[in-house]
Symmetry: C2
Subunit: 659 residues, 2 copies
């Protein structure tokens, strides 16, 4: 151990707080903070740019604890640095209901927590988005205003997760040189030695993906400092710092073993660790000279921030206003009128196109009026139609580009979009097939947990995609996405609804899924209306308000439902079609509105080319569902709709069975 | 082009059929078959061991088209080799309803299709399981009976997917030398050149993961043959053959472009391609000398198979019987009595343990009586309790091991288990936390599409896991897993139910999820019953059969429901608790049985520490749900149950509100 006494004391302050908090909670992960304390000390007190008094300073460096289980490393550091929200009482409330110090770092809980981590690999996957956002905004607003680094601490678990490969191959390809990943190379996982389950040469792997690599002893603060500073010098590659550490460093019997990963040390081991480390103060009581040293380090960037404020103040007014608007996430003044004008055009034009095409038409307008959108696709651009004339690619050589060629990396696309949104200044949207939300689900769930404005453009949204067959046909997905709390799932029926859903997704302060058809659909919304009917989630799109039968439908099936009205009329049955572009928004309306839409029908039918699960609430005991009850099949779309009985005729039968 | 005339003709037969079938279907992917035809020709006619007349021969080499969109490569080859089911009429019915020639290869549709592929990365991820099964069975039954290779063709898309990293790092770690992946290195993806989205040095990446690598021109059959034979010689590493190819080889204007990936060539381009390739015969009419050469090659392994049959016939009777039982997937004669005996012991012992512990107790019995189980965990063995004294690890040096240390690779775990199950001879089970089914969902869906006996041991199944917080607490997952067609989702309430669910999972011819508690639960099934009540999915576990109120519950909430009975009784309300270990099995029962369980209650309540979506069908209009309506939180389990109102008191209120 070559660290100076003060350096040791500062790192031990983290170790001490981490051990104490986990012990008090009788739950948590002391191993990582103890092993990584030296790295965190150097990173936070000597290298990173941030200001605890202005924690949301737009040009701060970002820190991401990808190994989120080591949350006490972050909480202890934030406390030591002087982040106001992170009090010693919060540390004492670690893992208790209502505290800011949750088991894993939760975005929104306290400043300094840049993203929610815990599910392994997500942080490193987010970080690529942060670094993309930085590079893109720097290209737009200049390095006077945007010039910061993204720092990640990742464990062996993060590197074993598949999404890490998607992340590092994308970051290397894009030459995101201001991204630095510090690998806590402690050779321990929950089940024992890493070598039990993995033999990957990580250095060679990162090099193969175009990364700069540095190997150090992560317990030697001088080596750490040199590595971090060297990483900042990398001009055209992201950097991996492979830092050899010892999990649970200082614990007399449990260090360097999986026993210290995820359980309190216990009184004896804790006492032994403190003795071995030279920690002679009571639990949660950091000596003032150590605390003062940390707090002083916390003020290091005050001048840099002041200079930055000066540069912002003296920037051209339009640039400054635009920068502030973008970081605040406000929409431009002409947003509403632009959408309304285009809606009027669509009402007049009545395009008969697939909703994926309608989405592209909407994007052509949106991308013009919102320079903050950054599109992309997981290698399905021509299918998702996520591109517009504005979306030149964001590349290693053109940081001004607005389109992410994510490659065949659905999971990383979603995770990177989380990072882009969390960074602020950009609105990410990205496409793949709806069925492949399965590949991205852990990151989609995090969009929802963190309430981030991430827009998923998910095309080929049913058996309507046809011949590609069951592996490509979503069946359960609309229901299983609606099942995720705080996620908006839109399935628009025509061009006008698609525009309205896009408007809602852009205005929402939460993530959205747009489920869009591959097949062409007629225009249904052919009359001018005021406002955005889709905003209420569901509304009567056709038929008599006081009809005997109500037919709920979404997307491509709204057309089928509307077609059934004539057939029903021929049987002397009055019916109406309720288009339900978003169940979530409909349930958020007043009971009065919902009653007014549903009416008091004698028959209820819902039709959607997916499973019934998410429809049962609307249908109740007597309503009937028309949709899928199994996986799909490979055949032309029309044949499949007939084969699976998703037809106007089926609607008529279902209505008549109830009357 | 250095191939002989006959070699070219044989490869062109594939190209021709692929072009014709895609053109006739007016849908499909001609690019891959045209680029990879030479590789397939050499692999199928010179290297692989199989017998079209005995397509399920246990010791055949396995072929996996990981790039499943190139399905016509496989169908054309199977037809040419003489697989009976794959007629020329089937090729003409490519992508039509009811044909064996679905858009992507579908397991069960025709012999020679070893696994369902299409979602990228899944095939290469399956292949690790195939190779594990081969090595394990060879160790058990000897190389006289088990000695075959697993061959994979993977595209750039497969290698970009994160799951490929999990697959190759696991395969390299386990030194699966009989696994050979041929990378169709054509530098084209749907959006254009690979170099638009990826710059990975794949050779270096595979080397970093412990693979043998070979680089060849994939259009030169001599190079292909040498590479395939060299790969077979690898003693301690899986092999990557990086085969440079040209997508759509032969197409005059579209070759080497993404235009030939996923669309028919069109009449003019098709004619031009045939002219350029020297294909002068009509569509679907392979000249007899070429067809005969293929058919002759298809018989190459007849003698090898005969010899193998001889070795099997002359093996020790017990070994032979056991081998045949295992490959047929039959359970041993003492299976039922073993389970019954242990159930009697549990009824007597009344253990108060978490259901994850009950699962381990069940496994201790199951692993003794079923040598075919191969367990594992994604680095959570001590949490999932998936190990027993029998489960020594399967490693690079001990192929007899029965436990897969999957590492932090949930997706690969699921995909490998698919491969193990598809191989036959073993029953795979593997564990992680229930919330991380999200990471494995694409592979879980394939378990269900393929109806494979794969058992997912998913512990920490609710907010009951406590302090780890919302990222680790499943909320929507029970509903979203029930949403997958053909998947059994079990959530047992105590040790006896857990054993019963394990029995059902082992006996099912489809995949199962066991959702298990972290927290201890009392014994509820304390009386001897005949048969397996869990087999009917739901049954009255407590209370009066003709009660006024019925309370549906699963898992840890059954205890809460049973506790409410006393409270309800104090209010003068008769009630019963219906334990629902499997909704799927309950819905599969007769209406009569379901009516008998539910009765005609005046009040219905369902309680589950998840969302309500999958309960609405049982609850109908009037029933009430007690569970989660948001993400969870970080706190001790008891505090969370109270905080979210999942309590006996809430049940009483919900019942009384209905009476």
């Amino acid at each position: 151990m070559t660290n100076s006494a003060q350096a040791n004391e500062m790192a031990n302050a983290i170790r001490s707080l981490a051990m104490d908090a986990v012990e008090k909670a009788n739950s948590g992960h002391p191993g990582l903070p103890m092993g990584v304390a030296d790295i965190a000390t150097v990173l936070f007190t000597k290298v990173m740019k941030f200001d605890p008094k202005h924690p949301w300073w737009a040009d701060r460096d970002r820190f991401i604890l990808s190994a989120g289980h080591g949350s006490m490393l972050l909480y202890a550091s934030l406390y030591l640095l002087g982040y106001e929200d992170m009090t010693i009482d919060q540390l004492k409330q670690f893992r208790q209901l209502g505290s800011k110090t949750a088991g894993h770092p939760e975005y929104h809980f306290a400043p300094g927590i840049e993203t929610t981590t815990g599910p392994l690999g997500q942080g490193i996957a987010n970080s690529v988005g942060f670094a993309v956002a930085e590079a893109k905004l720097a290209a737009e607003f200049g390095s006077d205003l945007v010039d910061h680094y993204t720092w990640v601490i990742a464990g062996d678990g993060c590197l074993m997760e598949g999404v890490s490969q998607e992340a590092i191959s994308l970051a290397g390809h894009l030459k995101l040189n201001k991204l630095v990943v510090i690998w806590d190379n402690n050779n321990i996982t929950i089940d024992g030695r890493v070598s039990n389950a993995d033999s990957t040469d990580q250095i060679a792997r990162f090099k193969a993906c175009g990364w700069n690599t540095i190997e150090i002893d992560g317990l030697d603060q001088a080596q750490v400092e040199k590595a971090l500073l060297d990483a900042k010098k990398s001009k055209d590659k992201p950097t991996l710092i492979a830092a050899k550490t010892i999990i649970g460093f200082g614990a007399p019997t449990k260090a360097d073993s999986h026993g210290v990963h995820g359980s309190p040390l216990g009184a004896a081991e804790l006492a032994g660790a403190k003795q071995q480390l030279g920690i002679d103060y009571p639990a949660f009581e950091i000596p003032s000279h150590t605390l003062n040293a940390w707090r002083a380090a916390g003020t290091r960037s005050e001048n840099a921030r002041g200079d930055w404020e000066g540069r912002l103040a003296s920037a051209k007014p339009e640039l400054r206003a635009e920068f502030e608007r973008r970081i605040a996430g406000k929409l431009p003044a002409n947003w509403n009128e632009t959408i309304e004008a285009f809606k009027a055009k669509l009402v007049a034009d009545k395009p008969k196109v697939a909703t994926r095409k309608s989405s592209q038409l909407a994007l052509e307008v949106i991308n013009k009026v919102l320079p903050e959108t950054i599109g992309g696709s997981a290698d399905l651009t021509g299918s998702n139609l996520t591109n517009t004339p504005e979306t030149l690619p964001f590349t290693a050589t053109d940081r001004a580009g607005r389109y992410m060629r994510y490659g065949i990396r659905e999971h990383e696309m979603a995770a990177a979009m989380n990072g882009i949104a969390l960074h602020k200044g950009l609105i990410p949207y990205g496409g793949t097939f709806l069925v492949f939300t399965d590949y991205a689900r852990p990151a989609i769930r995090l969009s929802a947990i963190m309430s981030q404005k991430v827009i998923y453009v998910m095309t080929h949204d049913s058996i309507g995609l046809g011949e590609d067959g069951p592996t490509h046909q979503p069946v359960e997905h609309l229901s299983t996405l609606r099942a995720i709390p705080n996620l908006l799932v839109f399935r628009p029926a025509d061009a006008v609804e698609t525009l309205e859903c896009w408007q809602l997704a852009i205005e929402a302060e939460q993530p959205s899924i747009l489920a869009l058809s591959r097949q062409n659909l007629p225009a249904l919304r052919t009359e001018t209306v005021t406002g955005n009917p889709s905003a209420k989630g569901a509304y009567v799109i056709a038929g008599d308000q006081n009809a005997d039968a109500v037919i709920f439908a979404t997307g491509s099936e709204v057309t089928i439902a509307v077609q059934s009205l004539e057939l029903l009329k021929a049987q002397g049955i009055s019916a109406k079609v309720v288009s339900v572009p978003s169940q979530e928004l409909f349930y958020a309306q007043s009971q009065e509105y919902r009653d007014s839409v549903i009416g008091k029908p004698k028959a209820k039918v819902a039709i959607e080319a997916g499973i019934e699960m998410s429809w049962l609430k609307l249908l109740g005991d007597k309503g009937r569902f028309i949709g899928m009850h199994s996986f799909g099949a490979s055949a032309p779309a029309e044949a499949l709709y007939e084969h699976f009985g998703i037809t106007s005729k089926a609607i008529v039968e279902a209505v008549m069975a109830q009357l």
